[in-house]
């Protein structure tokens, strides 16, 4: 009997606690960005604290983020006011589910970003919010092994390979680090760096003879790469632990290394190949779902996020750079200075060859990435012949392009209709 009375006591106690949940009127900001705890904290404390009425900032992984917003759209009512995510997250959604934002009068300074944000319609479906890119970073100890005559700010892929080979010879360890882990962003290296640098294209040139050369060069680089790279997803960890001396990764995934030991590392532009210095800008945006309960508050928050002061605060918090015209202050954290410098050098390089984010793929963006990941795994990890693998993967790629009807994006030459795989 005592047990039952204890249980019933516990149940009623819980019921009272449940009923005591307070109602809040904060604007719910549902984001896939600024997810790491420190960034989330900085977003809440420094970026969003200045917004009148308060913001409930909730960073999520892509899966729960998309599932929740889909559920709210399907139910026809919801609590999410503002969504923050990468271009790829939004392009996987139906533009009809996003509020047209053209009447806000907000846009970025980049026309490319503004047209990406229309998601194939004639209205802004999201507002470009912040940008980043992928760069190279190295431990200063590795600099002494740079091949003769090489300028770290204008490296070529051949020089990078020679450099990593020198390091291996001198230390006996493979010290190039590549984010090939499960959460690593390796596919972006192939789409935005290797392919544009060697083939001046991504889709059209996927299985071209130049692409074969590109993969041969990459396997050469891989032979000097720390074999544990298949577990690396955030190269700042390996830079700090010394497992890798020369690395490639997203600027915000290198930030911690520069902030913790600014004097030990250098950031520098990605290397160049025969067809230029390929690099890929990363774009995040802000959107409002059609189910947002308080449209005015949501629009006010989007407007607040685009103010120059907020953009600078966001830069400090997340290492993502402003997309509007701002005067950058001098007292930025070391990671921002290092990365900003490298990105500026990379985009201003005479041989710069920017590769844009895949566009127009809708919800097949993941499949598109998978083609490159599979190609990497088969050629590099499984050692299959390059020609055969490219011929094989080409079919999958062509099918994705035909089914989505996505036209070519830079650096591929423009196409009428779906981008052809030549």
């Amino acid at each position: 009997m005592t047990l039952i009375s204890k249980l019933s006591g516990a149940v009623s106690g819980l019921a009272i606690l449940c009923a005591a949940t307070a109602a809040q009127a904060e604007v719910l900001f549902w984001s896939t960005q600024a997810r790491p705890v420190e960034e989330a904290q900085a977003m809440r404390d420094t970026v969003l604290s200045g917004f009148d009425g308060g913001v409930d900032y909730q960073p999520n992984e892509d899966g729960p983020w998309l599932t929740r917003i889909k559920a709210e759209l399907e139910a026809g009512q919801g609590s999410i006011e503002v969504m923050g995510a990468l271009h790829g997250n939004f392009s996987a959604m139906n533009p009809d589910d996003l509020q047209d934002l053209g009447d806000l009068g907000l846009s970025s300074v980049s026309d490319t970003f503004n047209s990406l944000a229309m998601l194939g319609t004639d209205q802004m479906q999201y507002i470009p919010w912040m940008q980043a890119s992928y760069i190279m970073a190295a431990n200063k100890e590795a600099l002494q092994y740079l091949p003769e005559g090489a300028d770290i700010n204008a490296l070529t892929y051949d020089q990078l390979i020679a450099w990593t080979a020198n390091v291996e010879e001198a230390t006996g360890e493979k010290k190039f680090g590549f984010p090939a882990g499960p959460k690593g962003l390796k596919h972006r290296f192939f789409q935005g760096y290797l392919y544009p640098s060697y083939t001046d294209g991504v889709v059209r040139t996927f299985a071209s003879p130049e692409a074969v050369t590109a993969w041969e060069k990459f396997s050469e680089l891989w032979s000097h790469t720390n074999p544990a790279s298949t577990n690396f997803s955030f190269m700042q960890e390996q830079l700090l632990s010394g497992d890798a001396w020369i690395v490639f990764d997203h600027t915000s995934r290198l930030a911690q290394a520069f902030n913790e030991r600014p004097d030990d590392f250098v950031a520098f532009p990605a290397p160049a190949g025969p067809t230029g210095r390929g690099f890929m800008p990363v774009l995040a945006g802000l959107a409002i779902p059609r189910t947002a309960p308080d449209m005015d508050a949501a629009k006010a928050l989007v407007g607040y996020m685009m103010q120059p002061e907020t953009q600078i605060a966001t830069l400090r918090a997340t290492n993502f750079f402003p997309v509007v015209d701002v005067e950058l202050p001098d007292d930025l954290p070391p990671s921002v200075r290092a990365a900003g410098d490298a990105v500026a050098k990379m985009s201003a390089a005479p041989d710069a060859n920017p590769g844009l984010l895949p566009a127009g793929l809708g919800d097949r963006g993941g499949d598109f990435d998978r083609v490159f990941v599979d190609t990497f795994e088969r050629i590099i990890l499984a050692g299959q012949p390059i020609d055969a693998v490219l011929e094989d993967q080409k079919k999958t790629l062509a099918r994705i392009m035909e089914e989505t009807g996505a036209p070519c994006w830079a650096p591929d030459a423009a196409s009428e209709g779906p981008c052809p795989v030549e």
């Binding site: 420190e38 909730q58 960073p59 960890e237 700090l240 913790e260």
Partner: protein
């Protein structure tokens, strides 16, 4: 022929057996304790120490990582939500699971075997698949973003364990005990509460622990179905995946400790179960 094999001194054999036994105990303890110990050390180390190698065996008592979480907004309310949801899950899964286990062990009915199989099916579908329709339903019915709604989902996940554990325990208690109680003046209900219930209390505890741990560890449903009333796991785990290493350790430590405290608190009921099994 046999003389060769009888050489072994029985005392030596017993000693060797003891050593093997002790080694096995030490190995099993180390299996559990060493990772927890490293978690503790790294939680109490400075970021530089966490990234360096070799690791020190003694914590440096650098509270930087833990202080960060102490100031991390919303931790306490997330912890409260986690406890509420886990407790509700525990109560619900036992209230539903134990009678089902009793019925399965005491009564014969058509489709009994099928029912036992079906009950496992609640675990056959991955949550990411179920979360979308569930969330739509919850939003429409108003269960969305409540502890009760999430506890219902977690209860579904925990029920197979509750049913199967209590079923095997009820089956281990002879029906004669109950029959004797009936002849001595008990009703069906009092025979159950006075005779059977005390005997299966350890089993109930075991299923309660399972329910608690399942609810405590579940991320996906919690992340989709709660927004303002987030559980600690949904709140922390999603942001930890990409956090720096020292915060990963500290966050992991914070997630592990409440579960450990809970299991410690109920351990005496759990250990009594092995007492029953040995009788």
């Amino acid at each position: 022929m046999t003389a060769v094999t009888t050489d072994a001194n029985p005392q030596d054999a017993r000693k060797a057996g003891r050593i093997v036994y002790l080694a096995a105990v030490v190995l099993l303890c180390a299996w559990v304790l060493v990772p927890l110990y490293f978690l503790l050390i790294n939680t109490l180390s400075s970021p530089e120490a966490v990234n360096s190698f070799p690791k020190s065996f003694f914590p440096a008592f650098d509270l930087g990582s833990l202080t960060f979480f102490a100031n991390f907004g919303g931790m306490l309310s997330a912890l409260k939500n986690s406890i509420i949801v886990a407790a509700l899950t525990m109560v619900l899964s036992i209230l539903i699971g134990a009678p089902a286990g009793y019925a399965l062990s005491r009564f014969d009915f058509r489709g009994k075997e099928l029912f036992r199989l079906l009950i496992l099916l609640t675990r056959a579908f991955p949550l990411p698949l179920l979360a979308l329709p569930l969330a739509v339903l919850f939003i429409r019915t108003g269960l969305d973003d409540t502890a009760l709604g999430l506890a219902l989902v977690h209860t579904t996940l925990a029920i197979p364990f509750a049913v199967l554990i209590t079923f095997s325990l009820f089956s281990g208690i002879p029906i004669e005990l109950e029959e004797a109680a009936w002849t001595l003046g008990c009703t069906r209900l009092t025979a159950f509460t006075k005779v059977v219930l005390p005997l299966i209390l350890p089993g109930i505890t075991a299923s309660a622990i399972f329910a608690f741990v399942i609810s405590w560890n579940e991320v996906f449903a919690a992340a989709v179905l709660t927004i303002e009333n987030r559980t600690l796991t949904a709140f922390l785990l999603q942001t930890l995946g990409e956090a720096p290493l020292h915060l990963k350790f500290a966050g992991g430590f914070i997630l592990v400790v409440p579960a450990l405290i809970f299991i410690f608190a109920v351990r005496k009921y759990l250990f009594a179960m092995w007492g029953i099994a040995n009788r």
